[in-house]
């Protein structure tokens, strides 16, 4: 059982009132006058993204984001699951409430992985609540939030030299800061795809959503041929999409990353995750 997650009735019914106090209470720094509007925004977003209500994640899911970002166009965030929750969570949704396209990414665990430790870099367009919602294998939605002060990240110009960035498009990096994994020890892995990941600034007048420009839409990580992680991404992911995750298993296998952008460009790279070699 997932003991860290209280077995209580859904706090917010599918059509129920926005009972958001628990999540927002943990998100420090919100201007009091803005709190009701932000709660309403999240309530509306949840109705558009999920077909069920959510409940507070408690200790099962932790979202870490800087209270004030250094660079709104690349705000580092991390997501972690408790040891109890990790085997039960198959997907985590990351939502940046005030961004033009709020659903930043959905991370899905493959058969050969879990979502116990994820990291990403996102664009933040305005002071915002950021929400993470973990979906358990029995269909519950566990929610947590952070408040982040940053502005202009979606409309920020390409961070570096766009010409150089285009020439580098598709190049990938992989890093194992703590060395290769072992069957009993998950190793942190970071993968990155060089891509301008332009957000697009146009607004579709019907949907009120941004028309996407050029960005990585899916990224899959496979180890020894089995899927470890799949990230489905929106325009809120920063330039040069960079993700961290935990990899467990025998060292010496092939780690493969496949990415595809919205223009159907496909990129792939593979590395042998060394066993001392």
């Amino acid at each position: 059982m997932v003991r860290a997650v209280p077995r209580r009735p859904l706090l917010a019914g599918i059509l129920g009132a926005p009972l958001l106090a628990p999540a927002i209470g943990r998100a420090q720094g919100i201007e009091p006058a803005e709190a009701p509007r932000r709660a309403e925004r999240w309530h509306d977003l949840k109705l558009s993204i999920f077909d069920r209500g959510t409940e507070p994640a408690g200790d099962a899911l932790t979202l870490v984001a800087p209270a004030r970002a250094l660079d709104a166009a690349a705000v580092p965030i991390s997501l972690s699951l408790s040891a109890e929750a990790a085997p039960r969570v198959r997907a985590i949704h990351l939502v940046i409430d005030e961004n033009p396209a709020p659903l930043a990414a959905v991370f899905r665990a493959g058969p050969a992985g879990d979502l116990r430790a994820l990291s990403a870099r996102v664009r933040v367009d305005a002071y915002t609540l950021m929400h993470a919602v973990a979906e358990t294998d029995d269909g519950r939605l566990l929610e947590t939030a952070q408040f982040v002060k940053a502005a202009g990240g979606c409309s920020a110009p390409v961070g570096t030299d766009l010409r150089a960035a285009r020439e580098r498009m598709g190049r990938m990096r992989m890093a194992l800061p703590e060395g290769p994994p072992a069957p009993d020890r998950a190793a942190p892995v970071q993968v990155a795809v060089s891509h301008p990941n332009t957000s697009g600034l146009q607004i579709d007048q019907l949907s009120r959503l941004s028309i996407p420009a050029e960005f990585v839409q899916t990224l899959r990580v496979l180890y020894r041929g089995a899927e470890v992680l799949r990230a489905e991404c929106g325009i809120s992911i920063a330039e040069n999409p960079t993700f961290g995750f935990a990899l467990a298993g025998e060292p010496g296998g092939e780690l493969k990353v496949e990415a595809e952008d919205n223009r159907e460009r496909r990129f792939a790279a593979a590395w042998v995750v060394g066993n001392g070699g």
Binding site: V64, A74, S155, A192
Partner: protein, 293 residues
């Protein structure tokens, strides 16, 4: 003469014959400083005047224009925008009616197109709507791809150089051969912590080349009106090298981009004014650049 013109104009410093700098203060934009935080100024030629960066606001630009008029009756024919940052360009509106030629880096129009509106909102937020009113950049009318000689008449010509991505991706520098003055604007920071908005590797490259250039003095974008050259580049070079080396080491040892700002080159940063507002951002920018080396 200067007394009649007021204290603002008395603050103008002639760093070499015909080369005037209106020094900025080491602060962030605020209602009280009118965003006059960068060194701006002008060069008086035989037939015309070139303004080098019109200032950070309409008020700053007007102050600079009065400073020119207090020194010479010659017309302001050229406005050189050394890069797109608001503390350097948003005073351009004060010169609009003079219809000057506006000189900028070949990449400046794109930089302004992308950032101008955001910068206008930013200075309004920081200075207050009243103080910021009327401030704006002017679109460049003459672009510099590589080099440009700007003739100010009677044998005085400024040699303008376009740089690769360094402080920003649209930096210009000027050299006045008559006085051997190198006007570097924000390619050179002194006292105030530099802000990295272009390329760290590029900035170090451009600085190395500039240091080889014989000059009597350089005009920094922030710092004293003029410093000896190349000695005046030593502190900046030291900081940028520490930023590069520390960030590379952080990347190599697996320190993440979230943790690096508190750990990289903190000692070097502490020697600079306003480090708390900019050093973390510099590390973050350096990290994103260097992880792709």
């Amino acid at each position: 003469m200067l007394a009649a013109a007021g204290p603002a104009i008395a603050a103008t410093v002639q760093v070499a014959p015909g080369v005037y700098v209106l020094p900025g203060v080491h602060e962030d934009a605020s209602p009280s400083n009118g965003n006059a935080i960068a060194n701006v100024g002008f060069v008086v030629g035989g037939a015309s005047v070139a303004v080098v960066d019109p200032g950070g606001s309409m008020a700053h630009g007007r102050r600079l224009r009065r400073a020119v008029e207090a020194v010479t009756p010659l017309p302001i024919r050229h406005l050189v925008l050394t890069h797109a940052h608001p503390d350097h360009v948003m005073g351009a509106a004060a010169f609009a009616e003079l219809r000057p030629e506006v000189v900028g880096h070949a990449r400046l129009p794109e930089a302004l197109a992308q950032r101008r509106e955001g910068y206008l909102r930013m200075i309004e937020r920081e200075m207050g709507a009243e103080a910021a009113a009327g401030s704006d950049a002017l679109p460049p009318t003459r672009l510099v791809e590589d080099r440009l000689d700007l003739d100010l008449g009677a044998g005085r010509a400024l040699s303008i150089a376009a740089h690769g991505p360094a402080h920003t991706d649209a930096d210009l520098s000027l050299f006045d051969p008559a006085t051997a003055t190198l006007w570097l604007s924000d390619l050179l920071f002194v006292e105030r912590i530099p802000s990295l908005d272009g390329s760290l590797a590029g900035w170090l490259r451009e600085l190395a080349a500039l240091r080889e250039r014989p000059a009597a003095r350089a005009v920094p974008g922030h710092g004293p009106p003029a410093v000896p050259w190349p000695a005046g580049a030593a502190a900046l070079t030291g900081y940028l090298e520490a930023l590069r080396d520390g960030t590379r080491a952080a990347i190599a040892s697996g320190v993440g981009i979230a943790e690096a700002p508190a750990r990289v080159a903190s000692a070097e940063a502490s020697r600079w004014r306003l480090a708390e507002g900019y050093h973390g951002r510099n590390v973050s920018a350096a990290y994103r650049e260097l992880e792709w080396e």
